[in-house]
């Protein structure tokens, strides 16, 4: 449990300066989600408008009133909502990609800085391979995990 807490603190340290990015992402994702939630209702509306049109058209008495105008309008709104979704999603993912890449970069340089402050004793008692793997393999894993986690939390 305390490991989890430490990990939390660690990420917080590196991620807090991106608060504005996270705020923007949250707002954008909010808009995107709203679009996705509303859009299907317009799909339903379009289908029912089409049904009404068909009924009016089939009945000789009302055929003259039958119009596809509102059906077309609904379709445009539907499309507009998905364009809105795509745009906001694009910007949000772009911001997250930036945060992930740059915060991992800061961690990497941060770790190197820390290593420079370590005493020679540390290097003698830790195998070189182990230290090197932290720069390459472990940071790569952090990057992948963060990529996944941020996307799952926000998107």
């Amino acid at each position: 449990m305390s490991d989890l807490k430490n990990a939390g603190k660690y990420y917080w340290h590196y991620l807090k300066k991106y608060w504005f990015g996270f705020l923007m992402t949250s707002i954008l994702i909010g808009i995107s989600t709203a679009c996705i939630v509303i859009a299907p209702t317009y799909l339903g509306k379009a289908v029912s408008e089409l049904t009404t049109y068909l009924q009016q058209w089939t009945d000789a008495a009302t055929r003259g009133n039958a119009s596809l105008g509102s059906f077309h309008k609904t379709l445009w709104i539907y499309l507009g909502l998905y364009i809105g979704d795509a745009t906001t999603l694009l910007i949000a993912s772009w911001i997250l990609a930036r945060i992930t890449a740059f915060s991992t970069g800061t961690m990497r340089v941060g770790m190197f800085r820390k290593m420079q402050r370590m005493q020679v004793k540390y290097f003698d008692s830790h195998s070189d391979g182990d230290i090197l793997a932290r720069y390459t393999s472990d940071l790569d894993n952090i990057f992948n995990a963060m990529n996944q986690a941020l996307i799952e939390i926000f998107l």
């Binding site: 539907y78 997250l96 990609a97 890449a101 340089v109 790569d140």
Partner: protein
């Protein structure tokens, strides 16, 4: 990807199980909605018997799906892990077969990244491959057929959507390939700087080089960051683009249904199912797209691994039985140029040494002493001329014979982390305690080894940092003599020893290794003054060959060195 096939074949059984289980999984996934439909109808009709019967079937199907999923993951992991382990082992043994020059060509940190990070990329794609490889086409084909059956008229909407999605995937595949290539290169650079920093940490500390090192590291790290960000931006475009395409396709489909609703009213009812199939196709294509992009990264890694595998060691040894040879050394008009250098380091060298003799090599820094020694150990092959050991051209000697005949002790003594005995047993696998003691006695190492609490099982730390420079050299000499070689090369190997210890080592060598030819490279004339023969080197040539007294009498270069050292150190 060709590199991978033979490795996957070794895990054929696991691979088949993974594929069969994924087929079961797809079957369960596709069948469930149909069964659910039957159950729903039965509920509406109040047909309890059918609800019960189909309900059980539905649960059974769900369980099959879960079990198949678990089995698939386990066996995919088996294959992926097995392939990665074998590939890494082969890569490692390939590197072991490399000549010294080949390793230098790739650089050590480059090879390390290939053995770690690149292998990991391959492992991930093999895993993903076996989880997705048959799921995607099956889901895709299933959904495609069902969509076509539902609304055959709109085939072009489906095809159009697929072309756009595949086009986008393909475009980013190509772009990402470039970026992934750069990423691996940048990881290598990061690794190189970090490795250099580790190796030279004492120098860094003592010369307060930390800020410079951080600068250097930041530069390579920032490059890696930027490329990773670019990859991220490309990924950011993909998802929204795919979804937008699919929803435009949906809107078009509905629009067309609207325009033709009076002639084909039945399509109105089919719209919903058509849309859900459309989405299934989209998911299959998106997954396929992502798999392709992941494959592009793995492909880069495979290429890098393949490059190492395809390199033929620039030096080959003849196969054959271990033939014992004597300790004679003969150089016949040998010239040598380092790869990439313009001027030769050794020029037309000829000399002979009889077995059991001691030969000294002196000369200024850069005169070619170490290069000459490296050629005896066949770390490099000469450009021209022949080197013979025991009368046999060393190119005709099996590697094992050569290594058993020639022991090379370097000035920079590298011990491997582990224990003292483990280091000694690298040279002589079956070394007994008595043999270790014998060798340590010669090298004057036993006095400090035996003071250690664990004596020969004492730990050797990373970079053998728990031993002093002199101790390291003595351990190194111990390792050199433990197998009782026919030829022992000491390349400035006693430089960190005080005069008394050096003398003791030499006396012990004379006494215990009387039949061993000893080649001593030294800066100090005092180290080789007793040699049977001394080669004086100057700018890649042998300019003097004789014993101390002869050379002092008639060799200008030797006289010069001797005079300078005599004045400085008081050589007698």
């Amino acid at each position: 990807m060709k590199v991978l096939i033979p490795y996957v074949k070794r895990y054929r059984k696991d691979a088949y199980i993974a594929i069969i289980s994924v087929i079961a999984l797809v079957f369960a996934t596709l069948w469930q909605p149909r069964l659910l439909q039957v159950v729903m109808n039965a509920i509406l009709k109040g047909d309890k018997a059918t609800i019960f019967q189909q309900g059980i079937l539905l649960i059974g199907l769900a369980i099959i799906g879960i079990i198949a999923g678990v089995i698939n993951t386990i066996y995919s992991a088996h294959v992926a892990l097995g392939v990665a382990t074998d590939l890494r082992a082969d890569l490692y043994s390939k590197v072991q077969s490399f000549a010294y020059a080949d390793v230098e060509k790739f650089s050590a940190s480059n090879l390390v990244v290939r053995m770690t990070n690149d292998i990991n990329q391959v492992q991930q794609i093999v895993m993903a491959g076996f989880q997705q490889i048959s799921r995607i086409p099956l889901l895709f084909i299933g959904a495609f057929i069902l969509a076509m059956v539902t609304m055959p008229q709109q085939w072009w909407v489906l095809i159009g959507m697929m072309i756009i999605v595949l086009g986008v995937s393909f475009y980013s595949y190509k772009k990402m390939s470039d970026y992934f290539g750069q990423t691996q290169q940048n990881i290598e650079d990061v690794n190189t700087v970090a490795r250099e920093n580790l190796m030279g940490i004492r120098v860094v500390k003592s010369f307060v080089q930390e800020p410079n090192e951080i600068d250097k590291f930041s530069k390579v790290s920032d490059k890696l960051t930027k490329v990773t960000a670019k990859i991220g931006y490309n990924f950011a475009i993909l998802m929204p683009a795919f979804f937008l395409t699919a929803n435009i396709a949906v809107a078009i489909a509905i629009y067309i249904v609207g325009q033709n609703v009076t002639t084909h009213p039945a399509y109105l009812a089919a719209i919903t199912s058509f849309i859900s199939y459309l989405m299934q196709i989209l998911f299959a294509v998106i997954n396929g797209g992502f798999l392709m992009i992941a494959a592009s990264r793995a492909n880069i890694s495979l290429g890098r691994i393949g490059e190492v595998m395809a390199t033929t060691p620039s030096m080959n040894y003849v196969q054959g039985d271990d033939t014992p040879v004597s300790g004679n050394i003969e150089f016949d008009h040998v010239s040598f140029t380092y790869p990439g250098d313009e001027k030769p380091t050794l020029k037309d060298i000829s000399f002979t040494v009889k077995a059991g003799e001691m030969i000294g090599i002196v000369g200024a820094t850069g005169s070619g002493k170490t290069t000459l020694a490296q050629l005896i150990a066949r770390l490099y092959d000469p450009d021209s001329g022949v080197i013979k050991v025991g009368g046999v051209d060393i190119k005709q000697l099996p590697e094992k014979s050569l290594r058993e005949t020639v022991a090379y002790v370097l000035q920079r003594s590298t011990m491997f982390s582990g224990t003292i005995s483990a280091n000694l047993r690298q040279v002589k696998e079956d070394a007994t305690a008595t043999q270790m003691q014998w060798a340590a006695n010669i090298a004057q190492a036993s006095e400090f080894i035996e003071r250690l609490p664990q004596t020969y099982d004492a730990p050797v730390e990373e970079r053998s940092s728990n031993f002093s420079g002199g101790q390291k050299q003595r351990l190194s000499i111990t390792r050199g003599v433990i197998a009782n070689p026919k030829i022992l090369i000491l390349d400035d190997a006693t430089s960190a020893l005080d005069a008394k210890s050096e003398k003791l080592v030499q006396e012990a060598l004379d006494k215990d290794l009387r039949h061993t030819t000893t080649v001593v490279i030294a800066e100090k004339i005092s180290s080789i003054i007793r040699a049977d023969k001394i080669l004086v080197m100057d700018d890649g040539r042998v300019v003097g060959n004789g014993n101390h007294h002869q050379l002092v009498a008639d060799n200008a270069v030797y006289q010069e060195i001797y005079k300078t050292q005599k004045a400085r150190e008081g050589v007698k």
